[in-house]
Amino acid sequence: MLVEPVDVAVIGAGPAGLAAATRAAGAGLTVVLLDEQETVGGQIYRAIERSDAQRREILGPDYVAGAALADTFARSGARYEPNASVWQVTRERSVHYLKDGKVGSFEAKRVVLATGALERPFPIPGWTLPGVLTAGAAQILLKSAGEVPTEPPVLVGCGPLLYLLGWQYVRAGVPIRALVDTTRHEDRWRAKRHMISALRAWPYLAKGLQLLRALREAGAPIHEGADDLRIEGAPGDDGTERAHALSFSVRGVPQRIEANVFLLHQGVVPNTQFSWSLRATHHWDDAQLCFTPQADAWGELDLAGIFVAGDGGGIAGAQAAEAQGELSALAIAAQLGAIDQTTRNRSAAPLLRRLAEVRRIRPFLDTLYRPRDENRVPRDDVLVCRCEEVTAGDVRRFVELGCQGPNQAKSFGRCGMGPCQGRLCGLTVTEVIADALKVSPATVGYYRIRPPIKPLTLGELAGE
């Protein structure tokens, strides 16, 4: 336990956290960066320092871009604590973590929450079966372990990450059974009005088109406009029920594809566990269909001294995250007297320009890849809370009995009270209740998230 408070605690070693820590250390501040993984990079640059030439070739230039960031951080002088699960941050900026089975804590003058994004829940029938993973999970297996599906996988959903994964599989020589695309034809038209602004982010747009073209050229069957998704289970050779087939419809025509690996994706959402646990103000974002914490231009929450940087404050991608991390560090350096206001503003100007530039693509992407209502607000028989096995129908019954919001749903039926602490069901439960009550998700709110943010035993806690 450190006696002197450190200047800055950064939580998360993705692009936002690495950039914030590097910039803050560069301004002469003492910095501790804590991260749950074994290596830096977050999920986007996962295992970047360990990837060999072959893996970098498969994953492409956007992944390799993380190497420079990791390298600058390693030479920054910031203290790095890998394998550290932060389980509490207090409003007084006390940071508590678990590492190698032991708890630790320290005080920080400023905190940067750089906890990134989570895959948006994709509640469809059968999404809990072994063999169903997120596209992000498949990408992590490729980045960190060089693993790919043994048999051709089915990619299901919509959004850049899904197509990127398909493109990476093509480069790795992995055949794709099918891409079942849920993008609605109406949304393709609606997205066109954001095209002018998106064109100003042309490199990003061109890359997206290139990914889809590569998939087509590789002969991956693409089914566009799929709805009524259902993953069927069947006993495997060891008797365990596992995913066996995906059935869906395109314009009312039923289809069915057999496979043993199904990779789901319909965008990512901010990981807001810390900002909620701190009782920061959050707003419902109707374009991105998620809650985001309220923050100023530097990322400071409505809690003095606590900042959010990167996708945890709203989805904008790795390049934006890097700029936001640096902006937070500049604001902190000025607040702690390491730099003056003029230096802060001068250094911030190019970062703000870059941020505005990379954000231009968002309205187009958010409109085009808006996840379908039926894949966010599922019908009664679909499990929404995977941990406690609560269905959408259960949640609707809670509402009939007087349940007014997600937090009450816990006492009605343990919904959201399992080990994942609502990470995999929170937004679904909010939207199911809002839909049932015919009110906005903003009115319904979110789970009351409480520490410990990551589970720890009483024995471990007693060790503090």
Partner: protein, 124 residues
Amino acid sequence: MTSKPLFRVLAPLAPAVADATVHIWFNDEPLEVPGGRSVAAALLAAGVQRFRATPVTGAPRAPYCMMGACFECLVEIDGVPSRQSCLVTVQDGMRIHSQEGARDLPFSSDPAPSQSIKENSDAR
């Protein structure tokens, strides 16, 4: 306990020391798995398809997010229950068991550990 692996290690990877084969046990069955990766990634490549059973209905579950968020990959590692196998690096000699339902409460004074109270099961 194992079947045809859902995931395989890409070949040809440059041979790296970190990826040397390690020997582990899964549910008392000896397994040779590639090292230099998480327990979850190693088990998936070794053909383990069922990592745990849910406390509520005993339904089979396996890794879903691989990034520490979903808790579907919970297993018991070297006697410690409810470990997130996607966050633990696989080590030679690890004894891993599937997590069957809720973890047992560690009552050290309990004379019969096999009869220890299942967390939550009665309260539910």
